[in-house]
Symmetry: C2
Subunit: 336 residues, 2 copies
């Protein structure tokens, strides 16, 4: 009987008829908008409770030209597919949207293919978008701007008109670098990923800033950028070793794991012969032996903030265009 009740798809008209009032009144009781008598409202609400009515969002959507959906755009690049960052983000977004009566539609893009995004926007499937991996020259951002779609990015950009949620990768990397310099590492190298990803730009910037803060010069031979695959990482690490680096900072956990593999091949021991640090304290780093020094962020909280921001923005509420989430530096054995 439960089964039938749910399938019955009881509508607002049914309720109106049953209670001998008009659809309008029922609608008002449910939405809370417009004037309505205290007792009438309670009568409606009571009946609704009893007969397990649930409104048809599609109809509501059509009438209001709103979908009550937001899109979350995930990168589909093969080398990011296993990164837990996006998954944790998504969890946070789902949590907050559900609590605000919105749902999450996901789609993937690559650096040069945004067809899934376009479909969703063209089909009016969502009211707004969360972009999780902004690029330097981002066709997704350009598209969203050109269509006038509300969106927020998880990341940082110069443009102050774009709503942004991020941890401050610049100061984070700057802090990490400075701390490592202070603790006696005279020659620190950087292995960075795709510089088209803004986050890697930020971390690179922070790296340089850390040196500046400590009044040190960065040796150009100590910086390997755009290491977008295991082979490039290995080449980079080899170069750093030749230049007698004593500590390596990796811009993310995948690069870190590839760096460790390279170091292993060269029979270099961590931390005795070479120190290493990375970003985002994932399972990989957490359970590595020795444990890897890393910057830790509450990624789920980033998702929660991003979800709240976009929904508030859609609904015309006031929001801050730039929100930061704290990070935390976790020093471990790999840099001792």
């Amino acid at each position: 009987m439960n089964k039938e009740d749910e399938l019955k798809n009881i509508t607002i008209s049914d309720i109106a008829q049953e209670l001998g009032i008009s659809k309008t009144t029922v609608s008002r009781a449910i939405s809370g908008k417009g004037r309505i008598g205290e007792d009438t409202r309670n009568r409606v609400l009571g009946y609704i409770e009893k007969c397990d009515y649930s409104p048809n969002f599609i109809a509501k959507s059509l009438a209001q030209s709103k979908t009550f959906n937001i899109a979350v755009i995930l990168p589909a690049d093969s080398n990011l597919i296993e990164t837990p960052f996006f998954q944790s983000c998504l969890m946070g977004i789902c949590e907050i949207t559900a609590s605000m009566d919105y749902d999450v539609v996901v789609a993937t893009t690559t650096e040069d293919d945004i067809t899934q995004l376009k479909r969703i926007i063209k089909n009016h499937k969502v009211d707004g978008v969360v972009l999780t991996r902004p690029l330097m020259n981002d066709i997704a951002i350009n598209y969203l701007k050109s269509t006038g779609t509300p969106f927020v990015i998880i990341g940082s950009m110069e443009n102050p008109e774009i709503i942004q949620i991020d941890s401050n990768h610049v100061t984070a990397c700057s802090d990490l670098t400075a701390l490592l310099l202070m603790s006696g590492n005279s020659s620190i190298g950087l292995v960075a990923g795709n510089l088209n990803h803004i986050v890697n730009q930020n971390r690179y910037e922070g790296f340089l800033d850390g040196f500046k803060k400590m009044n040190r010069q960065v040796n150009p031979g100590m910086v390997c950028l755009n290491c977008t695959n295991a082979i490039l990482v290995r080449q980079g690490v080899t170069q750093l070793i030749k230049n007698n680096v004593d500590c390596i900072i990796c811009t993310d956990d995948l690069i870190c794991s590839q760096t460790i593999t390279a170091l292993d091949e060269m029979k270099l021991r961590i931390p005795e012969e070479i120190k290493i640090a990375s970003f985002y304290n994932s399972m990989f780093l957490e359970h590595h032996h020795p444990p890897i020094t890393a910057l830790n962020v509450n990624v789920k909280e980033i998702g929660i903030k991003a979800g709240k921001q976009i929904i508030d923005f859609i609904n015309g509420n006031e929001i801050q265009t730039k929100a930061y989430v704290n990070y935390e530096l976790i020093m471990k054995e790999s840099t001792k």
Copy 2:
């Protein structure tokens, strides 16, 4: 101007009026349903192309009582949140659904909280559901059954009425176990995760089956079940070591990483003093030193099949209720 065009929200009526025909005809031209003149169709299609019309899915949804959305339910359990399996699955599902003109709504559940799922179903946000982590006694499955919602599971169940996509964990683990027994490991132990997860039941079953195939007895002291956190894993490993195990099979990568940490603490070297193998060849195992023997599956393909199955099912197409995806045993240094 592009901007205005897209916002203009040109409708089927506009087109009809512009072309001096009826809405119905336009609708037919677009959908391809019903008889319509070759030339009329082309005229409509041509005009549509030119004015960048895109249909309003919401209206279509309301008229057809279909949403063209499917839900993907992801586990929100803290110890699974970083598992790349679900992310890869999701990628596959997104890819296939997009190509079939469907979209993906995601929601999370835990073992005892399916409120997000309920919201989505009650609000008629989706036409069907993909469950990614079936449990032994799954309230989500019960709920979906009771509401008559079409769904598929990524995993295996006895019930042949439920549409299932999976790699065969039983034979996979059986093969792995048998192979390790054959290659001279006399005493193999198992560290398994939450047995409420069907997949862990399957692997446990496979483990036992491997022994049986080789006419060996399983020593009960060699099996640690329900190791749902790092502490339990450590206890389990300690017990296995006391019982002079020479090889450990872990039911997933998280347990594997925790096992390795425990082994490290005990100063046991892999593979010299103890061998180890795991499931699902994630980044963690891939870049570990030494590389870890594991069962590898094309997870994205599982997602693709699941997405196709649910959409085909919704549309009343014929489908097989049980689809397997191949696995591959990758022997590496950790068991040499």
